[in-house]
């Protein structure tokens, strides 16, 4: 019988209490009537019967409870609406941040067995580089020597002008080695991917992205074999990748075979530009691969001591290629959303507790007519889960709608979509959150109320009064809300300060009324410097003739749009092998500079002051002395205490004479230190050399708002070369504000969280005090009847709110300081103990507490002693 009694535990307690004994009796009689093998059959049948019917009984009760909950929630639409919105805010905020953090930090990359995918980088500890692109010779040596990997493959970004029907378009692509697609293990959606034999094929095979296939070929299924005119070469399409295939970034629209070329320096061990991925062999651990890469690097350094001085190599899991700042941004947001969820839950718990206390009489009636206490608890849990469920659905909708707004938080270094997918994983996460929320805010009030269910609630004259324990619990919940909102307010305040500080950083140029656009000149069409100069001259002449244009000029890359282009600088004349006899002072201290070619007038156009000497001029051509304009930091580093004008140094295969010194520009971005800058005249670029640096970015300074001139500038470029695409048309302001975009997004999200928390906490305080006042109206009435003045009553109510606020602010500021310290890396030098921010947040929290208390206090003062005491 013990067996059957145990089975009965599957049923709800109320059902068991009602029918358990009878069912046991039935089972006992059936047991008596059988023996031997039949007994085993009976027990098996009993087991199946209990499982199936227990589930059904649970479903019956839940259905009934749901019906009841819907009915009773419908009767209180205000409460229901508030509770659902509060739950939706908490669940929505948490689901949104969790799904984006999961997308960026946790979810496996979208390739089969992606945990075996690693990236290989060269490292140079002395200069603080943990990730340097390797050169082709280094890559080929790694590939030859490494035994930890199934394959080691390389790729490198490229871009091409797509010519054909419609406007010429500049599209981004990758050159990949023959086995790159095998490493990724993703097949093409149509046709095939690139293979080893494509590298040597004369056919110029190309694989295109789903986006390009739809945009340019109208999703034609017979696209294979069709050609694509890219720059001056024609490629044959052999495959189309699936829509969710991203490699290595979201911008890539085509993949073509990588052919190393001696002429472009692919034999130079210092020509560092490759990205390398590899797939670990199944039996090899990541740590073994790391060790092997370091050993290989040691071996190569011994063979090439000059080129690879101080260099090593390392493997990194591809999954972990997320910058520490991105990681921190997301972690901070997740923590913030948890604060919002905590506030939402405590608020809901308080709301539900008030409701439950108000319904005590109803529950007492239900228990008096035979409902067991567990049925009442179950009913309350059903209520809270129903509310949480509705909030969860709304929260998921909020997440889906808001996720494009946070897309900027997804770093481009990972091969993942910019918006987290809405899939089973995300929905399961949201469901789990909803369940936790529902149970968290449902269970506490339920237990609290059940302890009180007894006849007392039915006694005449009993009111919705509260015990000290319940009050204490509710007060603790309100304090928790204040704490969480102070933490969020302080965090948002610190981040605002950090943003202001970053925005106040001088980029080294002035951004107002400057239009920029990109016209990348394709090779071989523009391989010769004179051809390019003709294009620049024509465009710049015509642009200068436009009304409102103050100055226009070309540069290789606008500041902050390309962070590379760093070259070693040679300044000491001792080595006869180096150009002009220059060598760097010490191979371990390779001083380098960021190199750009510019057309005359660039500094005036971008608003960087010329501090000494002159700008590059129209007279600086291939027939005259090679000149350079350098930044102030360059002059200070290389010629300290000397007049830099007329001094010489070697860079990019030639000796240059300094003719001017200009202000420093933050080339690498507002928040990063930049190398000193060197500017060379675009007319002094050698034919066919460094074409990567051929000026492509046009900068136009205007005296009128820039948007009005865009069509005119486009038409000038079209007239200069109808096949020349125009890309990235934007103001210089936009270029700089992109720098702070992730911060702004994060701040907006955190700001929204803080605002929500602030409001929720105010609602919480209001709810608590309103309830206390109504529960204690009799006591207040008696006090007034005994002569208490309105001021005393006000003091009583406001004093209570003040105590809660002060405790909340006290704990909150301590926690906020800890939170500030943990996200110090995001604060751009703002102290985590910033007095202004703490004072502001504390004042806001106190104000919020006051605002939440006004109405209940008013009501308390207006309590009519006669009405309040009449019931007795």
């Amino acid at each position: 019988m013990g067996f059957y009694r145990a089975l009965l535990r599957l049923y709800p307690a109320s059902f068991r209490a009602e029918y358990g004994d009878e069912m046991c009796a039935v089972f006992a009689r059936e047991l008596k009537a059988t023996n031997g093998a039949a007994r085993l059959g009976l027990m098996t049948r009993a087991l199946v019967d209990a499982v199936v019917n227990a589930l059904r009984v649970h479903a019956d009760i839940t259905r009934e409870d749901l019906r009841y909950a819907v009915r009773s929630l419908r009767r209180t639409p205000g409460f229901t609406f508030t509770a659902v919105v509060v739950a939706a805010l908490g669940i929505g905020a948490t689901t949104a941040t969790f799904s984006i953090a999961d997308h960026v930090l946790l979810r496996p990359l979208p390739f089969p067995e992606s945990e075996r995918l690693v990236k290989l980088w060269q490292t140079q500890a002395s200069r603080g580089y943990s990730r340097l692109e390797p050169s082709p010779p280094n890559y080929l040596d790694w590939k030859r020597l490494a035994t930890s990997f199934e394959r080691v493959e390389a790729y490198s970004g490229t871009a091409a002008t797509l010519i054909g029907s419609g406007e010429p378009e500049r599209i981004a692509g990758q050159r990949v080695t023959g086995g790159a697609f095998s490493v990724l293990s993703r097949p093409a959606a149509i046709g095939r991917t690139l293979v080893e034999s494509d590298i040597t094929s004369d056919q110029n095979p190309i694989v295109i992205s789903d986006r390009l296939w739809r945009a340019r070929f109208g999703a034609d299924p017979n696209v294979l074999g069709r050609t694509l005119a890219l720059d001056d070469a024609t490629s044959v399409i052999v495959g189309v990748m699936p829509p969710d295939f991203i490699f290595p970034d979201r911008e890539t629209d085509f993949w073509r075979p990588f052919r190393f070329n001696r002429q472009t320096g692919d034999e130079d061990r210092n020509n560092n530009y490759l990205a390398v991925i590899a797939r670990l062999k199944p039996a090899v651990t990541f740590e073994q691969a790391q060790t092997e890469m370091q050993l290989i690097a040691d071996q190569l350094r011994q063979q090439h001591p000059k080129e690879l001085a101080d260099n090593s190599a390392n493997a990194f899991r591809w999954r972990d290629e997320v910058r520490a700042q991105s990681r921190m941004l997301l972690t901070a947001l997740v923590a913030a959303s948890l604060c919002v969820l905590l506030i939402a839950c405590t608020n809901l718990a308080n709301l539900l507790m008030s409701r439950a206390l108000a319904r005590r009489t109803e529950f007492a009636v239900r228990t008096a007519v035979g409902a067991s206490v567990d049925r009442v608890v179950r009913q309350m849990l059903t209520d809270s889960l129903l509310l949480a469920g509705a909030g969860g659905v709304l929260g998921v909708l909020l997440t889906v709608v808001s996720s494009p707004l946070v897309a900027r938080l997804v770093p481009s270094s990972l091969p993942i979509a910019d918006v987290p997918p809405v899939d089973l994983r995300m929905l399961l996460g949201a469901t789990l959150l909803t369940l936790i929320t529902g149970i968290a805010f449902g269970v506490l009030p339920a237990l609290k109320v059940c302890r009180k269910i007894d006849g007392s609630a039915l006694k005449e004259g009993a009111r919705g009064g509260t015990s000290r324990g319940t009050e204490r619990l509710r007060s603790a919940l309100v304090v928790a809300e204040i704490v969480a909102s102070v933490v969020l307010l302080v965090s948002a305040g610190l981040l605002i300060q950090a943003l202001l500080r970053v925005q106040a950083i001088d980029p080294g140029f002035t951004t107002a009324n400057v239009l920029t656009l990109r016209t990348p000149l394709p090779t071989p069409k523009y391989e010769l410097t004179t051809t390019r100069q003709q294009f620049y001259a024509r465009v710049l002449d015509d642009v200068h003739a436009l009304p409102g244009v103050t100055k226009a000029a070309y540069i290789s890359f606008l500041p902050m749009t390309m962070r590379g282009g760093i070259w070693p600088i040679l300044t000491t004349a001792t080595d006869p092998d180096s150009p002009g006899g220059f060598v760097p002072p010490d191979p371990r201290d390779q001083r380098s500079a960021s190199l750009r070619f510019v057309s005359p007038g660039f500094f005036e156009a971008i608003g960087t002051p010329i501090l000494q000497g002159r700008d590059v001029g129209p007279g600086d051509t291939l027939d005259t002395q090679r000149v350079a304009v350098v930044s102030r930091s360059f002059a200070r580093d290389h010629f300290p205490g000397q007049d830099p004008i007329g001094r010489q140094f070697a860079v990019a295969f030639a000796v240059r004479t300094i003719v001017g010194v200009v202000g420093d520009i933050r080339v690498r971005g507002l928040e990063r230190e930049s190398e000193p800058q060197v500017y060379l005249p675009s007319a002094q670029q050698f034919d066919g050399q460094l074409t990567f640096y051929a000026p492509r970015d046009l900068v136009v300074r205007l005296s009128v708002p820039s948007a009005t001139l865009i069509p005119a500038v486009r038409s000038i470029i079209y007239q200069a070369d109808p096949q020349q695409p125009v890309a990235d048309v934007r103001t210089l302001d936009e270029v700089v504000s992109l720098e702070t975009a992730p911060r702004v997004v994060q701040l907006r999200v955190l700001g929204a969280f803080a605002a929500a928390a602030f409001l929720l906490a105010a609602v919480g305080i209001h709810g608590l005090l309103a309830f206390t006042v109504s529960a204690r109206s009799r006591e207040i009435g008696v006090r007034i009847a005994l002569g208490a003045r309105p001021r005393d009553i006000l003091r009583m109510v406001l004093g209570r709110s003040a105590v809660l606020a002060v405790i909340g602010v006290g704990i909150g500021t301590a926690l906020a300081y800890a939170a500030g310290r943990s996200m110090q890396s995001l604060l751009a030098g703002v102290e985590p103990a910033n007095i202004t921010v703490f004072a502001g947040a504390s004042a806001l929290a106190l104000l919020m507490a006051l605002a939440g208390s006004v109405l209940p206090a008013w009501r308390a003062v207006r309590v009519d002693p006669l009405t309040a005491t009449r019931a007795d």
């Binding site: 059902f15 009878e22 039935v26 089972f27 009689r29 019967d49």
Partner: protein, 120 residues
């Protein structure tokens, strides 16, 4: 019958177990085990209600007012105090009749379609 009760048709079609229980209670009040035995004998051993199915059905039938718990008990020497006796209500009777009518109409239709063999 209670004037506020729903029309008997609103509960149709009845789950087979519920209909069997109503039939078993048609002529006399019975306790749970007796209902199982009665259904077994009426169906010549074809239908054996399990305890779970029986008591879950009883719970719902009590809620729906199809049956009531009876407090007149047999003589103590024939009784077991753990037993509870159930009887059919007027409403239960009308629901069972409505279900029987529904099934009869259904069989008539089946016969017209040639699905029921004619009597020899």
């Amino acid at each position: 019958m209670n004037p506020g009760a729903p029309p008997p048709e609103s509960l149709l079609p009845l789950p087979p177990a519920v209909f069997h229980i109503l039939m078993a209670l048609a002529d006399e009040d019975r306790h749970g085990y007796a209902i199982i035995q009665e259904v077994l004998s009426r169906t010549s051993g074809e239908v054996r209600l399990s305890a779970g199915t029986l008591y879950r059905s009883i719970q719902r039938m009590l809620d729906d007012d199809l049956i009531v718990e009876k407090h007149d008990r047999p003589a103590p020497e024939l009784d077991d105090e753990r037993r509870r006796y159930y009887g059919i209500t007027r409403f239960g009777q009308s629901v069972a009749e409505a279900e029987a009518a529904r099934l009869t109409a259904l069989v008539k239709l089946a016969r017209a379609s040639g699905f029921v063999p004619r009597k020899a």
